[in-house]
Amino acid sequence: MKSVIDDDTPNLGFQIAPMIDVVFVIMLFFMVMAGSVKVEQHLISNLPGSVESDSVDFVDETIINIDEDGEISLNDEPMDSPTSKRMTNLKGSLVRLKENAVSSGNKMVVTIVSDPQASYDRVVDALNALSAARITDVTFTVSEEE
């Protein structure tokens, strides 16, 4: 953008054009930054407790085991590779189990049993698969060290 400078009037006053240029550049910077912002999210779990109830609810209990090397098994059946982050098999199986539980009117309860040395990263992968399958009754426990 150009502006004509008159030698007789050295006081230029407030220049609007450069200000708009600068504002545009700053806005572009923040727009790009907003797209790559890392947001913190939560995976919800509840500790097991005792609740007094008159009715007896039937539950479909599922157990997810996490080994020290990161292998995840669903009801003793190995799922995906220990390095897989997407967990497509686990997610698919959990979705099917959830649909079965809903169609039979039962409540689906999942317990994650992790090896004491298994990394938190792998626990979160399992919790993420449960969240993708919309399973909310989740308990996390660590197996006893031998």
Binding site: M27, L43, N46, Y120, V124, D125, L127, S131
Partner: protein, 160 residues
């Protein structure tokens, strides 16, 4: 904002600079606020695991944030409650401090909020499960049954 506008005396509408600047500034403030707000919520010292399908953090409730930093050389975890700088290692101290933090969080619960205090565990991705279990046990001893595990929405962008 005043000044910078054109006139329509000649019959033809001119480019109006003042409303454009107003809109630009509003957009700028919007992008600055969302960028800085989300960045401030994340503690850069902890490398959170990634969970793309997790839920957005709920703000309208009392919560106690427990940071778990794991040192792979010493193979020990250090806990910090609500970004307090004092590191905690022993389980009994952790229970005492968590009980205090829960009592404090209960006083800050506003009307209409969820009345249960939630324990938010923010742990390094390399932390072994038994340290997470220790944190959960301490939470249970402090009277918390609602637990949330913190995770990032995406991986860190690669450094060019």
């Amino acid at each position: 904002m005043a000044g910078g506008g054109g006139s329509i005396e000649s019959g033809e509408p001119e480019f109006q600079i003042a409303p454009m600047i107003d809109v630009l500034l509003v957009l700028l403030i919007f992008f600055i606020s969302i960028t800085s707000m989300e960045v401030l919520r994340i503690d850069q010292d902890i490398a959170l695991p990634v969970a793309e399908d997790a839920l957005r953090a709920q703000k309208e409730r009392g919560e106690v944030i427990l940071n778990v930093r794991y040192n792979e050389t010493t193979r020990k975890a250090r806990f910090n409650i609500n970004a307090d700088a004092r590191p905690i290692e022993a389980s009994d101290v952790l229970i005492t401090e968590l009980t205090k933090a829960v009592a404090q969080a209960q006083t800050s619960i506003k009307a209409g909020w969820n009345q249960n205090v939630r324990l938010v565990i923010r742990a390094d991705k390399t932390t072994p499960s038994f340290e997470i279990s220790r944190a959960m046990n301490a939470g249970a001893e402090a009277g918390i049954s609602d637990i949330a595990f913190s995770a990032a929405s995406r991986e860190d962008s690669p450094v060019p």
